[in-house]
Amino acid sequence: MTEFVLNEVRKQFYLDSVALMRLSRSVTERDGVIEAALMMGTPANRQILTDAGLLTEIGAAAQGNDLIIGIRAETEAGAREALREVFALLDKPRSTGGGESETWKPRTVRGALKLMPEANMALISVPGEFAAAEARKALRRGLNTMIFSDNVPIEQERALKEEARTLQRLVMGPDCGTAIISGVPLAFANRVRPGDIGVIGASGTGIQEITTLISEAGGGISHAIGVGGRDLSQAVGGITTLMAIDALDADAGTRHIVLISKPPHRDVARTVLSRVGRSEKRFTVCFLGASDAELPANAHFAATLRSAAEDALGGRAIGKDFTPPASTPRPGVVAGLYSGGTLCAEAQVILLRHGRRVASNAPAPGAQKLAEADAACDRIVDLGADEYTKGRPHPMIDPSARDEMLRKTLVDPKVAVILVDVVIGYGAHADPAGHIAAIMADAAPNRPAVIASVTGTEDDTQVRSRQIATLQKAGVLVVPSSTHAAELAVTLCRD
């Protein structure tokens, strides 16, 4: 089949990544269009377009503040017709949503602070190449910052955090998806009860799972501080984690502190745990996948997210009324299709602990790389990882990213159990359970067992119990936590 690639550049035309993804998708769905992407012309985006076979010389000449439109179609006429539609969409007046009146909006952090001088937090979600510069401007004007953007170079992260430490301001992130500060959920977070448990996490969905389990079990959260996935690496040295411990240690409203991360670098772990030992508060340390950790006397180790929540609740059991279904185990492997990176890591840790062979695109300690795995390995996939989200929405925002893989896995005779996570709350899709249910409706009766956990609360707009009811009606086994899900998968599989 012949293909035609068409590029067009709009000079100095900026749209945010979510708006561009919506437009890209709408064009891709046209008949005759094989693939389409609208992206700002930053070096990283030009590389993505090159890799996708969507860049021509015209797009390659674009700058970071130019919009590139890349279309691959079956015919030149089809590509040009799609381009006309893109122009129509781009030129359509955009609504601000909710009938909000048009008010003047500042174009810089400095301009924003003239209008709101008492602001104390900057939430930054610009393309990664520009995020450190915006964060630096905010820090120097006295703001704490949460950097949602990813693809920030690690040396920039280190430099920013060193500067923030000098300025006594917090840098949450980069790649920080979740925080709750003084009861305010920032970016992807849930409506949880206020309380006296503080959470510090190098992991977005880990924070969401622990805070929602605590809240649904009757406990409450003082603050949840995201530090970014690389904070506990040797290169960054745990700067934000240590500042967060200082802050929660000094916070009169926090009684107990939970630390959640993949295993930190050894030297960083030593520094962090030494700081933990100097506190008079109780700590729960959940380094997912760590085999052991020498902890100070005021800290408990938790091997799973559920046990971390239980420890913070003073030993109260979560899901104690849950009775696993009396299903006969099936031969085959476990296939995990996760939108949450930490939930994916936890599943691997649990399966490995039960002696199973595990492969993943984001392998936990002891797991193999997906590309190197044989057919007898459990395959636990993080669909939020870069290779699945470059130029596409994250599966928590758009669950259709998981649809195709779920359909294929439902008819895979080698799979005994499918694990899926449903993450709700601010920023998440309006009905992720409905998406899964729609696909399940077409599945054959002899399909693999499907196990789901719902990360969220009754107060979230998607409503935890409604999501659970939708899944159950579709024949999904819904369990009380992500930990329960992986544990149940083990019992429903046999070799």
Partner: protein, 67 residues
């Protein structure tokens, strides 16, 4: 804007690092600001576009120079 460093960071630090009420400058995705505003949080949206002609290195340099 930069406030003076507190005399006792251990005691005052938590208030500055974990402010209440949180008042947000949102630089990027407008949906984050919309969700905060709907939850009653004071938030101001920056209508951002790539600075420095879209060159990330120059943008980084400019931010270091305090512009």
């Amino acid at each position: 804007m930069t406030q003076e460093r507190p005399a006792s960071p251990a005691e005052n630090g938590s208030r500055e690092l974990l402010p209440a009420p949180v008042k947000v400058v949102n630089v990027g995705l407008p949906s984050f600001a919309e969700e905060l505003a709907s939850g009653g949080v004071e938030v101001i949206q920056v209508t951002w576009s790539p600075p420095a002609g879209g060159d990330p290195e120059i943008a980084d340099l400019v931010s270091k120079l305090g512009a």
